[in-house]
């Protein structure tokens, strides 16, 4: 029971992280029609900048600030230098060019920081555990991530459904040419949206850093899971991104938590662990296959 509660919270935490990633990716897709593989690289850059700044200054908040600004600035630079030329191209060109960007970013980070992972734990004021219900301790840092993520989700909702910028974003997603024709500077809007997506990816990276090892290749791992989230949720839909992220976060965490133990009942321990790990890595893809069988356009298709 205790374990279940703990795993549910872990699933929520992973889901929140996935949402931060998926929101940026799906916004950029919905508005610019761009599929950006380098979104994972922005996540990695956020994580590296945050971990490095935290280790240099000893301050977690300065690290967080460094991670956010590095991801947002590099993201907007990337948009202006390369990605802007890809909006009108077909998806294949976008995939290939951003694939090249990934190779470059990974190698550049490896040259600057080396292949050894960076480790920067959570700050003292967020370490330790609290009892969420009596007898069930849970790390404060993970709770803080959940709270931050939910807050950002709420903020994003308000931004998109209640503000003028949000109105332009929604209009841009459905009637791109018309918004331009009405005199909105569409290029500026695109850069702003891309910067917002990059900021969210950087936030996800900076927050996840203390939980995992910060290393080259961390971006692609989460990028592919984020793709699953977006396909499940429906391309271009923020609501879908939220639902998909929670679903995938839960399924992934719960299968990882319980499948190896279940398999141990029927298999030798070492084989059960390896097979369990493999099967739980596959679980989200099987989930995606099931959703697509039932709803080929995802749970909340954006342009229904």
């Amino acid at each position: 029971m205790t374990l279940l509660l703990e795993q549910l919270l872990n699933g929520l935490q992973f889901g929140v992280m996935l949402f931060l990633m998926a929101a940026g990716l799906t916004l950029v897709f919905g508005i610019m029609g761009l599929i950006n593989l380098a979104h994972g690289s922005l996540y990695m850059i956020g994580a590296y900048a945050a971990a490095w700044a935290t280790l240099q200054t000893g301050s977690f908040l300065l690290g967080l600030l460094a991670g956010l600004s590095a991801a947002a600035v590099l993201g907007m630079a990337l948009e202006a230098a390369i990605l802007r030329r890809l909006y009108a191209r077909d998806h294949l060109d976008q995939v290939l060019a951003t694939f090249g960007v990934i190779l470059f970013c990974n190698e550049a980070v490896a040259m600057i920081f080396g292949r050894q992972p960076l480790m920067a734990g959570p700050p003292p004021w967020l370490s330790g555990a609290v009892e969420i219900v009596p007898g069930v301790p849970y790390p404060v840092y993970r709770l803080a991530i959940i709270a931050t993520g939910l807050l950002v989700a709420a903020g994003l909702y308000v931004l998109i459904s209640r503000t003028r910028i949000g109105m332009l974003v929604r209009a841009g997603a459905t009637h791109r040419e018309l918004v331009g024709a009405l005199g909105v500077r569409i290029g500026l809007l695109y850069t702003a949206v891309f910067g917002l997506g990059a900021l969210l990816a950087g936030l996800a990276g900076a927050l996840t850093g203390p939980l995992l090892a910060v290393q080259v290749g961390m971006g692609e791992r989460i990028l592919i899971t984020t793709f699953v989230v977006i396909v499940i949720g429906g391309l271009g839909s923020i609501r879908g991104a939220l639902a998909g992220a929670m679903l995938v976060g839960m399924v992934d965490t719960l299968t990882r938590g319980f499948l190896p133990a279940t398999l141990r009942a029927v298999l030798p321990a070492s084989e059960a662990d390896a097979l369990g790990a493999g099967l739980s890595s596959m679980a989200v893809f099987i989930l995606m296959a099931i959703v697509l069988l039932w709803r080929p356009r995802g749970l909340f298709p954006a342009h229904a």
Binding site: V231, A274, L292
Partner: protein
Amino acid sequence: MRESSRQIFVLVASFALLAALPWIAGAVGRPDLVTLGSQACVMAIAAASLDLLMGRTGLPSFGHAAWLGLGAYTVGILAFHARDLGPPWDQWAVQAWAVWPLAVLVPAALAAVIGALCLRTSGISFIMITLAFAQMFFFLFVALKTYGGDDGLTLRRRSTIPGIAPRDDVAFFYVCLAALVLVLLLLRRVAASRFGTVLDGIRQNERRMMAIGLSPFPYKLAAFVLSAGIAGLAGALHVNLFRFASPDLLHWTMSGELMVMVVLGGLGSLWGAMFGAAAMVVLHAVLAQWTEHWQIVLGPILVAVVLLARRGLWGALGGK
């Protein structure tokens, strides 16, 4: 489809150069060039099969490495179990004529199931879902500790081909070259057939194909399965070439590189994939010799190719 005389000249010259590669390698004292040539032929087969999907049918699959890896593991796993099997199976499990067709059939059969799922989506979702399924197989082989897991699976000796010594690298190079020629001729035959014409039509305008009374789904699925089977053959050759199969063969970066080969060679140009594959294999070898951080050069090259070189190598070499 008819090749222009300039294109025929380029093709004859390229294949003559390839056929003479072992002599050239001997003359310059670089026997490793033969292995590089075999690798180029194997990747050319895989890239040409992907071009059938991407270039001809308009289905950009980002998971093609899965079929390459499944073909390789089919050969590797059968050889791994050969000793446990009783006669005559223990002999058959290492014979090329028995195992290589299986390395085509296993990926093709799985592609029939997975393709049926993936083809429910289109456009960007198709790219993502093929990528996701390939990652699924990647994780599966990482988890299969019996077959080496992360470390990969070693093939004790190459599949037996009557009349060819298993350790003869030059002979194996000619096997790869012959396979490449056969695959390209098959794909050319497909492109010229009614089936190929339908695939062209689906790429150009799926709705019109439906309007003239053709259901696109079975054609797309057939292309998906055929392409996976040919990639499986490339996998079988790959595991034999290096006597080694590892999950890296199924990694998503391999899928990405295959896509790059197709586009670099010239999307939908049939012969182009071969040049794209050769260029990538040589580029890898040269850059890796030069610096450990060769990807920092490769990345910008990819971006430049996508942004600037629209017609690919085949367009540049063969003209229009």
